[in-house]
């Protein structure tokens, strides 16, 4: 089931690559096919979700095949509630993104085939990352995701894309390579303890001395902290987001960056509970710094894309804070937050991306009074913004509050400082909305036209889910709760 789920987009990507390219209609065909493939993946994921036993915290639909026997690496995949949540996020966002990117202007007459093919490859790899229960497989898929994003930014982004792509790749590669050192360490530790294995279940039972555990944990965390991105390892994100297409930004921030926080839970907490416990005060402090720093940087940004990127730094701070507070409430909240942030940031990136492409500039000051001529766009921006500031009634509120409430029970000062973030969030969202949408319509902003039916079709699922999950988050919470309980149960 899981293999099928991961294989559908990859095979689809091959198919799209092989399709004829060149003329406009051929490129359109490629996009249609890609959209179809992503919808098939969505359907498969929904079937998987329907067959998922919600009450259990363990791994389900497990598949295991020996892969690289000499290295002890298995193709071992399974879903738990946390993984399923993120898989669902991936399969929901991919069609949305492909649909929203239908008319993206690609630089230098590049063909759309590869553009959408890379997106599908990324989807497949993301699914693999979220389902891998073998550290080696996880690492391979984790690092492999760099390549599609690198090409998506470098080939199809805006001005400065080459530099942004290289910045993205090197930053993440450095983190990933430190994790490679930890993977090497895991192999050595596990082969010393008997037979070498990377399977989560085997690794979790290996006795490790304290120093080893901490060092290995830090190796993993280096990759995750860059990916997530946790302050002060975040500076690649605004650079990358400022040059990527909105679709790429969505896949990068909403889906792939979640691998960082997801990894913290699955490979940080589950494998190294002692070290996670040891590091949690520091990480929580950094997370709070992320929250405040990201929000302030967003307020101070003059470029819309950078602004949105900084809001994500702030939101990731909340997610990480919740994870390392180690309470059922906060950690579950964090998992939910990953899902919700994926949706709200996707909406924000896509709608601002449409604004920017219409106007031809990403500067906030290039807009003004757009509401008058593009009311629907303005409405969507407002909803996306409000969800970003965690307005109660919208999905992100639930998760943010769970994170804060859970954190509050273990560390009051950090929770209090983090709560300041809600004021700053209001400022950055409303400043953006005020300066772009309200006031008298400026001459230069007159070129902006309202959303087309296709764009509405792409964005409305996001809005619907954001509103729906705000009032009815419980199904998702029921999914996440048992798995989080299992993870937290392993902590000292």
């Amino acid at each position: 089931m899981i293999t099928l789920l991961a294989a559908v987009p990859v095979v689809g990507a091959l198919l799209v690559t092989l399709l004829p390219r060149g003329t406009r209609s051929q490129q359109l065909l490629a996009r249609h096919v890609a959209l179809g493939v992503s919808l098939v993946a969505l359907a498969v994921a929904l079937v998987a979700a329907a067959r998922f036993d919600v009450g259990s915290g363990g791994y389900q639909m497990v598949e295991e095949h020996s892969w690289i026997e000499p290295l002890g690496a298995f193709y071992s995949v399974g879903l738990n509630g946390i993984g399923l949540t993120l898989v669902l996020l991936t399969v929901v966002l991919t069609p949305v993104v492909i649909l929203a990117a239908y008319r993206d202007e690609l630089p230098g007459n590049r063909s759309a085939n590869s553009y959408v093919a890379w997106m599908l490859v990324l989807e497949g790899l993301a699914i693999l990352v979220f389902t891998a229960t073998d550290a080696f497989l996880f690492y391979v898929a984790f690092e492999a995701t760099l390549v599609p994003i690198y090409f998506l930014i470098g080939s199809y982004g805006g001005p400065g894309r080459q530099k942004a792509a290289v910045t993205f790749l090197l930053y993440n590669l450095l983190g990933g390579l430190l994790m490679l050192a930890a993977i090497v360490g895991l192999y050595v530790v596990s082969s010393d303890a008997g037979e070498a294995s990377y399977r989560l279940a085997d690794l979790a039972s290996i006795p490790m001395d304290e120093t080893t555990e901490r060092l290995l944990f830090l190796g993993f965390m280096a990759a995750f902290a860059v990916k997530a991105p946790l302050w002060p390892f975040h500076t690649w994100l605004p650079e990358a987001a400022a040059s990527a297409t909105p679709a790429t930004s969505v896949l990068m921030v909403s889906v792939i960056d979640k691998v960082g926080t997801f990894g913290m839970i699955r490979w940080g907490l589950e494998l190294f509970p002692g070290a996670a416990d040891w590091a949690s005060p520091t990480i929580m402090a950094l997370a709070v710094v992320s929250i405040v720093y990201g929000a302030l940087a967003a307020i101070g940004s003059t470029d819309i894309r950078r602004l949105v990127a900084y809001t994500s730094v702030s939101h990731f701070g909340f997610i990480i804070l919740g994870i390392f507070a180690f309470t059922q409430t906060s950690t579950t909240g964090s998992v939910l937050y990953m899902f919700n942030h994926g949706l709200s940031t996707a909406a924000l990136f896509l709608v601002t991306g449409i604004m920017i492409s219409r106007r031809g500039s990403a500067e906030i000051s290039a807009f003004g009074g757009v509401q008058k001529i593009a009311p629907v766009m303005s409405g969507v921006l407002l909803v996306a913004g409000l969800s970003s500031l965690s307005l109660p009634g919208l999905a992100p509120f639930v998760s943010e509050f769970l994170v804060l409430a859970g954190t509050f029970t273990v560390n009051v000062p950090l929770a209090v400082v983090a709560t300041l973030g809600i004021v700053l969030a209001a400022v950055y969202v409303l400043v953006l909305y005020q300066r772009t949408m309200t006031g008298p319509l400026t001459d230069q902003a007159k070129v902006v036209t309202d959303l087309t039916a296709r764009e509405v079709a792409a964005l409305s699922p996001l809005v619907v889910v954001i509103v729906g999950l705000g009032l009815f988050p419980q199904p998702l919470l029921d999914l996440v709760n048992p798995a989080v309980a299992v993870v937290l149960g392993g902590l000292p």
Partner: protein, 502 residues
């Protein structure tokens, strides 16, 4: 007093095939008319490589390999040796195919027609007009291949020395006979020769000292306990100098960039893969046998220096071929980390396979990217290559990603394996340095991809449709990817190797 050698022809058949073909090649030079000579030589060399591969596989499958302590046995066909033969035969085959491509440069090979002509002289022009060519390159390549195979399979230091020279001497010559930029090519030959001879003298003196304290040339005798600690250490040290020179480790690496750049690119491709493989196996045989010498800390330092210096220099390059040369230095450093375990050759062997494939492939791409002046090796000339010629672009990207150690390429598995070796031996600082340098190294590999795919073409560099070379590129690229996705069989194969001590 000297017992007659007892030859096991079956076990030695791969070596004998290559040797016979090389000698036959010389005869072909003498008796075959000029017209079909090039084709005949090509066929002979390619056939010999293929046959050697087949014979190696047959030897391996037939089993009954192993170390023998029989006196006087100087070649050891153990698992490591036979596996290296297979690897070398493949590299040799790919290299010969690159030698043979005459479609790249208006029907002429990459080698000068008459090496004796002064560059730029009327004689040279005449040679070009009459399409004179040196078909000796094929026997020379076969001799070099023979030397490499012997080098990797020596169980005796003297044999190792002879093999070292057998592999080196043809390469010295091959380096000096490029058709284009001949002065640079001759310079490469001279540098390679002087430095090669110099360092092999060190190796030889090390052999003498080893003989001095053990009274034997057997590599296995290096581990014997004697009183002369200093002598033993000097022996191992001096031999290591010669071997580290061949693999291109810092500070014995300085020849590598200059020679790689000057040599005809097919030769660079062949020797970057083959010499490194043969020399590493020989190095491991010597070091692993020297159980009484605590060589790991020193080699660890050399490894660290090598990858660091290689990567740093590579960053500063603006020429693809030279960047690849420095990258080969950096890879020697990564490979050396795999030696630190001191007993297991499998990681290094695997790394050699992946590196060799990617390296041959990458240099083959260099051959294909040309303009009116021959190969266009300036990085800027590669702009937009990936979009202009996706097959070449994607292949080169695969090689770069493999060099950078990105998962789903063979290079990743190789890097992981050697780091595991170092980690097992407790050399964690080297591992950490290794990953940091990998990130640094990724910069210049990734830069190539950026140039090829993200920059718009300027229309200058043209990749012609040379079928043989393109085929080599594609084979190497596919091999690299397969080694990344399903490395199991090859890993299992290399794990059959024993301690390497003959």
């Amino acid at each position: 007093m000297i017992p007659a050698p007892e030859l096991d022809f079956a076990l030695l058949s791969p070596l004998l095939i290559v040797a016979a073909a090389a000698l036959l090649g010389v005869l072909v030079e003498a008796f075959c008319p000029r017209g079909p000579r090039f084709v005949v030589q090509t066929g002979l060399a390619a056939g010999a490589s293929l046959a050697a591969l087949g014979a190696s596989i047959a030897v391996y499958v037939a089993g009954d390999l192993g170390v023998t302590d029989e006196p006087g046995r100087t070649i050891v066909a153990d698992e490591a040796g036979v596996i290296t033969w297979m690897m070398l035969a493949v590299f040799g085959l790919l290299g010969v195919l690159l030698f043979a491509d005459r479609t790249l440069d208006a029907g002429l090979s990459a080698f000068t027609g008459r090496a004796a002509d002064r560059p730029g002289s009327p004689d040279e022009a005449e040679a070009i007009r009459f399409r004179v060519e040196h078909t000796e390159i094929f026997p020379l390549a076969l001799f070099a291949l023979l030397g490499m195979m012997m080098f990797a399979a020596s169980s005796d230091l003297l044999t190792m020395f002879v093999a070292l020279e057998v592999l080196s001497l043809p390469l010295y010559l091959l380096c000096g006979i490029a058709r284009r930029r001949r002065l640079v090519s001759q310079e490469a030959a001279l540098k390679y020769f002087v430095l090669g001879a110099f360092s092999s003298a060190f190796f030889l003196y090390g052999v003498a000292l080893a003989y001095g304290y053990s009274g034997s040339f057997a590599i296995g005798a290096l581990g014997e306990v004697h009183d002369d600690t200093e002598l033993r250490i000097a022996a191992v040290g001096l031999m290591a100098v010669g071997l580290l020179f061949k693999v291109g480790a810092v500070p014995f690496h300085a020849w590598t960039p200059d020679v790689y750049v000057g040599a005809p690119t097919p030769v660079t491709a062949f020797m970057s893969a083959g010499t490194k493989a043969a020399a590493f196996v020989a190095l491991m045989r010597v070091l692993f046998a020297s159980t009484e010498v605590d060589w790991q800390p020193t080699v660890a330092v050399v490894a660290g220096l090598t990858m660091l210096v290689g990567s740093l220099f590579a960053i500063a390059q603006s020429d693809v071929k030279r960047m690849l040369a420095y990258s080969s230095v950096a890879h020697a450093g990564f490979l050396l980390t795999g030696v630190l375990g001191g007993s297991d050759a499998s990681a290094v062997l695997f790394y050699l396979v992946t590196y060799g494939l990617a390296s041959i492939g990458a240099f083959a791409v260099v051959m294909l990217v040309r303009d009116a002046g021959g190969e266009a090796t300036a990085t800027t000339r590669w702009a937009g290559l990936g979009r202009q010629n996706p097959v070449l672009g994607v292949s080169f990207a695969v090689f770069m990603l493999s060099f950078a150690g990105i998962p789903l390429t063979g290079g990743f598995i190789g890097k992981l394996s050697v780091f595991v070796e170092a980690g097992r031996a407790g050399y964690w600082p080297v591992v950490v340095l290794g990953v940091l340098v990998s990130a640094m190294a990724a910069f210049f590999y990734v830069r190539m991809i950026t140039v090829m795919f993200f920059t718009d073409p300027d229309g200058l560099a043209v990749a012609s449709g040379a079928k043989i070379t393109t085929a080599v590129v594609v084979v190497a690229a596919v091999g690299t990817v397969i080694l990344g996705i399903a490395p199991g069989p090859v890993l299992e194969l290399v794990q059959q190797t024993g301690s390497l001590i003959p």
